[in-house]
């Protein structure tokens, strides 16, 4: 990041802190500190510090960093290609913004998302200066709920993706590296999971226990690893015969070490691409589950259940379902742009 960017961000964060100083005062004064508020304050402090300190670090270490970056290693080539892709940069910025928002929500959100005031007076208010996105059936501010919903939806997306990527990489790498029976067995298992009607599994498991964030995340993660497994496996299959692996084996390295330290890092490129796309896809699936009543349960806001709650009011209060929907669209667009950009940058075949 250039110094100018850092300065701008630092100034914006200062403005935010100024604007919300009473909220910050409230948080600091409260006897018990809920974890959300703690994280928000901590993140704000961290960002302020980082944006102030980075240019210092950048300037002093300048020459060696530039030397590093002008190299022709795979990563620097990729980074340069990525930087040229403006859409991808836009996606990256939006993603960073979103996750920053999730950390800072208690400071940014104008209202508490769960407080119901005088319901009759504040219900279904159209978007206005007071409530930029209007209010819902209980008079709760939609903007605040959307911001808090970002936390839930993005966390679900990220953690489910992490589970899926972790599991998929493990299975794919093991299958590809060892081959033979292990490979066939694991691939059969993968095929079975792929052929399994995911929706039925989701409904039954969520019905067995009760719908909760934890359950949704786990189930989505456990049913989304198959694509990664396949990708990793095919990459590992082709890598396995390469000289550096054979050399490592000749040197007597254990299989585990070879897999972890040499093979997997080279499969990262397509996995990263798939992972970013997977986050977007998971957010959409969670929204669909909420529409069926099986996702995150109210009063906890998630974009999916906000659309579901607003679907019956579409004729009288269109804003309740529309804004969370738009939030989903823009978030998934960002992730897709990012994923595409990464794919363009990392895939040598597409480079001219």
């Amino acid at each position: 990041m250039s110094g100018l960017t850092c300065l701008t961000v630092w100034l914006l964060l200062l403005l935010l802190a100024m604007a919300r100083r009473d909220r910050i005062a409230d948080i600091l004064a409260a006897p018990t500190l809920p974890p959300g508020d703690m994280i928000a304050l901590g993140s704000l402090a961290f960002f302020l510090l980082a944006n102030w300190a980075w240019p210092l670090f950048d300037l002093t270490a300048g020459r060696s960093r530039r030397a590093r970056e002008s190299g022709i290693s795979q990563w620097s080539l990729a980074m340069r290609q990525f930087r040229r892709n403006r859409m991808a940069i836009a996606g990256l910025i939006v993603m960073i913004l979103l996750y920053a928002i999730t950390l800072l929500t208690p400071l940014i959100a104008p209202f508490d998302p769960s407080v119901q005031g005088d319901i009759v007076a504040t219900r279904y208010l159209a978007p206005s200066a007071e409530n930029p996105m209007g209010t819902d059936r209980f008079g709760r501010d939609i903007l605040s709920r959307t911001l808090y919903g970002a936390r839930i939806s993005l966390s679900i997306g990220f953690i489910a993706m992490a589970i899926g990527v972790g599991l998929g990489t493990l299975i794919g790498a093991v299958a590809g590296y060892f081959g033979g029976i292990i490979d066939s067995a694991l691939m059969r298992f993968t095929d079975m999971m792929l052929a399994f009607p995911r929706l039925i599994l989701l409904i039954v498991i969520i019905a067995l226990f009760e719908p909760s964030i934890f359950l949704v995340v786990v189930v989505l993660g456990l049913t989304g690893w198959m694509g990664i497994a396949r990708i990793v496996r095919s990459e590992v299959l082709s890598l396995r015969e390469r000289e550096f692996v054979q050399a490592a084996r000749a040197l007597g390295m254990s299989d585990l070490r070879i897999i972890v330290r040499h093979v997997v890092p080279n499969t990262l490129a397509p996995v990263i691409v798939f992972a970013t796309l997977l986050i977007g896809n998971t957010i959409l699936v969670e929204a669909g589950l909420s529409f069926l009543g099986l996702g995150v349960q109210p009063p906890t806001p998630s974009w999916g259940n906000m659309i579901s709650e607003g679907r019956d009011a579409l004729l009288t209060a269109w804003w309740v379902a529309t804004f969370p929907g738009l939030a989903i669209v823009f978030t998934v667009v960002a992730f897709n742009l990012l994923g595409d950009g990464l794919r363009d940058a990392l895939d040598p075949r597409l480079r001219t």
Partner: protein
């Protein structure tokens, strides 16, 4: 190649049976059973118990499984516990409803998708390309059910209130007086009822196909033989549509094979919104009502379609790309 296909098909049989067995036991693990919805003070527990006996639910689980498996292997799907009708009657009706919708949406998905992808590739980096990229991405990232609701709101309700030239019906497969219409009117009625749901289902995926198509076309266009064709003086149209497209279609064709499960499985959310009696709703309702035989039968259809779809994709790929064929036979 045939032996390859044959082997795959043979291997698929234990896969299907395994999945169905898993589904069977998972479904029975879920609390409740088909009689739970009769919870009502006026219905005595003896009646509920009798219903269970009538449905064979009082038997121990392995026996129920055995019974189901034997009749299933004989080709008998059994009776739906919810509708108390032979599933062999239910499935074809609902499948046909679903196919009408998904086939039409498939036309949108691939027709529109390919057109957009080709345009984007031929006019890469132009303003049109960028706009289309963003628009396609926009629709690709949209939850289909949200899109469906927006569509109805605009093209059915606002159109009716504003008395637009073209107004679409908000739900159902046909109009009330369908039976009284002439053949031409009937076709038009069906198409009008199909357009909104097919669009809701298709546009998002069309954007996905467009992305694939664009990437594939771009890769092909850069090849030497295309340059040769242009150097030979062939018209741009012939170059693009005759030479480039043929080779760029490869990944798209495999994609077509993979849409088989969607063709037969429908989409529960869009079907609910449009009151379309399709497979998506059928399966989900069956799971919610614990209609075990129907869940099993529907899962069977979906699973078979997934496997066939993969097979089809691989086979089409082999057919289209001679290099693969040679490698496999050799």
């Amino acid at each position: 190649m045939l032996s390859f296909l044959g082997r795959r098909l043979l291997g698929a049989i234990p896969l299907v049976l395994g999945i169905l067995t898993l589904i069977f036991f998972i479904m029975h693990l879920a609390p409740g059973d088909p009689t739970t919805r009769y919870s009502d003070p006026s219905i005595s527990p003896e009646v509920i118990e009798q219903m269970r006996v009538n449905l064979g639910l009082d038997q121990p689980l392995p026996i129920q499984y055995f019974r189901w498996m034997t009749s299933f292997l004989r080709g008998d799907f059994g009776y739906s516990f919810g509708q108390m009708r032979p599933i062999a009657e239910i499935l074809p009706e609902v499948l046909w409803n679903t196919l009408q919708l998904t086939l039409v949406s498939l036309v949108i998905i691939f027709g529109l998708g390919m057109l957009i992808g080709i345009y984007q590739a031929v006019r890469q980096y132009s303003a049109g390309d960028n706009v289309l990229t963003f628009v396609a991405l926009f629709f690709y990232s949209m939850p289909a059910f949200w899109f469906a609701l927006m569509l109805i709101l605009i093209f059915a309700l606002r159109a009716s209130q504003g008395d637009w030239v073209i107004q679409f019906p908000a739900s159902q497969m046909t109009s009330l007086d369908y039976d009284l219409m002439s053949i031409g009117e009937k076709i038009r009625d069906r198409i009008m009822h199909l357009i909104l749901p097919a669009t809701a289902l298709g546009v998002g995926s069309a954007a996905g196909v467009a992305r694939y198509m664009r990437g594939s076309m771009l890769e092909v266009i850069r090849q030497d033989y295309i340059r040769t064709a242009r150097a030979k003086g062939l018209s741009e149209g012939r170059v693009v549509f005759h030479h480039a497209l043929r080779n760029a279609l490869l990944p798209i064709i495999t994609l077509m094979g993979l849409t088989l499960p969607y063709l037969f499985g429908g989409s529960v959310l869009v079907e609910t919104i449009f009151a379309w009696p399709g497979m998506g709703r059928l399966i989900v309702d069956a799971v919610f009502q614990r209609d075990y035989p129907l869940v099993m039968a529907a899962s069977f259809v979906i699973t078979v379609m997934v496997i066939l779809g993969n097979l089809l994709a691989d086979a089409l790929y082999a057919v289209a790309d001679p290099r693969i064929r040679v490698r496999q036979d050799g």
